[in-house]
């Protein structure tokens, strides 16, 4: 496996809605097995970028390549077998059981010729175990807390057995305990991960970071290299300096406004 060849990349990607140019000239490549974080202020285009990379929206310009193939030439089903998405706001009024919700993740692999089998059940069970939600299996969606719902969404994405996982701010609105648990799970996954994050300290634990501002890619590289105090000032409008945690030597950011 050539680690240098990106599994998912985009070239000159643009997207506009009405008068607003949400993304402009994005050039990005995700390496196999890495966890790439996407950060930026609100409205910088993080969600839009993820949606375009997952073929949930059609770009206005440029193209997305999956394993070197243009996305628009692939069927939705093929894409889904390679790539899974965990959305920011995905909810339902249906009284669906947790097991069934996770089982939806097997959809891209099922067909009239290959119906549901014991193998699929095993995969769903494994996905539930991976997010520590096995005990929730028979609960109804309505009775879950926000954190539990998010974990079930991740389990569904895992049940898809993708090679690439895209997560759009998966830790929003969650208790700190759940936030950290989910991030830990995600980082431990052997799949390539693209994760949009709000919390800059959490972003530090990614392999690489892409910084977006007003639809443009401002920087791409290792967190400590790109998330410089200067960048934090220009893009995020905050004063920052790094501290070293005496406990284990990791760098953490201290942020303050003017």
């Amino acid at each position: 496996m050539n680690a240098a060849l990106p599994v998912l990349s985009c070239c000159d990607l643009c997207y506009r809605v009405g008068d607003a140019q949400l993304l402009q000239g994005i050039n990005l490549g995700v390496h196999c097995g890495e966890t790439l974080g996407i950060v930026g202020p609100n409205g910088s285009g993080k969600s839009t970028l993820l949606k375009l990379l997952a073929n949930l929206r059609v770009p206005g310009g440029g193209e997305v390549l999956l394993h070197g193939q243009p996305l628009k030439k692939m069927s939705q089903r093929t894409i889904a077998q390679n790539l899974a998405v965990v959305e920011q706001h995905a909810d339902t009024h249906d009284a669906i059981a947790v097991f069934d919700a996770v089982a939806l993740g097997r959809t891209p692999w099922l067909s009239a010729l290959s119906p549901w089998s014991a193998k699929d059940t095993a995969i769903v069970e494994q996905a539930l175990a991976d997010v520590d939600a096995s005990h929730l299996r028979s609960r109804t969606w309505r009775n879950l807390s926000g954190g539990e719902r998010q974990r079930v969404h991740i389990a569904r994405a895992l049940a898809q057995r993708p090679q690439i996982l895209l997560l759009d701010e998966p830790t929003n609105h969650l208790d700190i305990q759940h936030q950290l648990a989910i991030l830990k799970t995600v980082h431990a996954l052997p799949v390539t991960t693209l994760i949009a994050l709000h919390d800059l300290n959490q972003a530090l634990s990614c392999d690489r970071l892409a910084i977006l501002q007003r639809g443009r890619l401002m920087a791409l590289g290792k967190p400590l290299e790109v998330l410089t105090p200067q960048r934090l000032l220009n893009t995020f409008g905050v004063q920052a300096h790094y501290l070293t945690d005496p406990f284990d030597g990791t760098q953490i950011l201290r942020l303050s406004s003017f």
Binding site: K51, A54, N55, L56, S75, Q76, R77, T78, I79, A80, Q81, L83, A84, V85, E87, A90, D91, T92, H93, D94, A95, I96, A97, D100, A101, L104, G105, T107, P108, L110, R142, N143, H153, Q160
Partner: protein
């Protein structure tokens, strides 16, 4: 596997019993024994000597009526399930896309303005009206934005329905004599009295075909549980599936409405009631709703013919009178299961 067999078997039995009830009960009294003899004569040539009027009533009026009621109930319920799932809206029903409103406009144009000069039947006018309204709603939905979001479709459907309802009301108040207005009302509220064997040969295959198409896409429908984007990320070609299934629902509904007028509440309430029993998986929800719709409409039709002696209440009135309280009960029930 056995559970499925048991369900299928009991479903067929229930349907058969319901049809028999619809054949045995009616406006006038016909002995159950006579009813069975008529069926025996017609199905395997038993050769009983019977009053030809009784034979005609049982075979040509009541049996066709029961079969069409079953087909329409099943068709409308199936369409209700599909629209509620695709549009992610529990209040969606088959008439959301402007179909019933368009059908009434078409029927009124024929009956009140005399379009076609008595050569086009109410049904043909209704069908054309239904399809035209649906086409308009589709155009409106596309024009309001390219993403095909369910909110756009719903709003376009409401706008289209309001427009065609207004046209219907205008035509009726401006041009209709009381007799014409009455004829239209009778038809608009749902009416199974003009049904004969040709309607059966139209309604039953259309419903079965529609159900088959929707069942084929049951996994795609399941995938819409968390929204259209979620479905796309699960590998469903969203635009194509939406267009196909909504188009299929529109066609089935248009055919049903043109045969029997607009019978409300079946497409709205039956899916909710069945979800409480069968769960949310479309593999079970679709056939169960179809069965529930069929049984419900047969029962409503029997009631409509027997509630008041010597008079037939439009079946749409019965479904509303029964459907509205049932819907209220379901809503209240949902609140308590939180």
């Amino acid at each position: 596997m056995t559970a499925r067999l048991i369900f299928t078997f009991s479903a067929c039995a229930a349907l058969l019993l319901a049809v028999l009830a619809g054949v045995a009960i009616g406006e006038t009294q016909i002995e159950p024994g006579v009813v069975l003899q008529v069926l025996a004569n017609k199905l395997w040539g038993a050769g009983h000597v019977l009053d030809p009027i009784d034979e005609g009533i049982v075979w040509n009026y009541r049996l066709t009526r029961a079969l069409v009621a079953a087909a329409c109930g099943a068709g409308l319920a199936t369409c209700g399930v599909v629209l509620q799932s695709l549009l992610r809206n529990p209040l969606a029903d088959p008439y959301l896309l402007g179909i019933s409103a368009g059908a009434s406009t078409g029927a009124v144009l024929v009956a009140v303005l005399g379009l076609g000069a008595g050569a086009i039947s109410l049904s043909a006018g209704a069908f054309v009206g239904a399809i035209s309204a649906f086409a308009l709603v589709l155009l409106l939905a596309r024009a309001s934005g390219p993403t095909g979001a369910s909110a756009q479709i719903i709003l376009a459907g409401i706008a289209g329905s309001q427009l065609f309802n207004a046209i219907t009301a205008f035509l009726i108040t401006k041009s209709a004599s009381s007799e014409q207005a009455r004829g239209i009302m009778f038809w608009l509220l749902g009416n199974l009295s003009g049904v004969r064997w040709p309607s059966v040969w139209l309604a039953v295959p259309v419903t079965l075909a529609g159900l088959a198409v929707c069942l084929w896409h049951r996994r795609a429908l399941d995938a819409f549980t968390f929204g259209a984007d979620s479905a796309a990320s699960l590998g469903i070609p969203v635009r194509r599936v939406q267009l196909l299934l909504i188009g299929c629902a529109a066609l089935v509904t248009a055919v049903m409405v043109s045969i029997v007028g607009s019978i409300g509440f079946v497409g709205l309430v039956i899916p909710h009631a069945v979800r409480l029993l069968a769960g949310t998986g479309h593999g079970r929800l679709l056939p169960a709703s179809a069965l529930g719709g069929a049984l419900f409409l047969i029962a409503a039709d029997i009631l409509s013919r027997t509630l008041i002696k010597g008079q037939v209440i439009p079946v749409g009135v019965v479904t509303a009178l029964v459907g509205a309280p049932v819907f209220a009960l379901i809503l209240v029930g949902r609140r308590h299961t939180r």
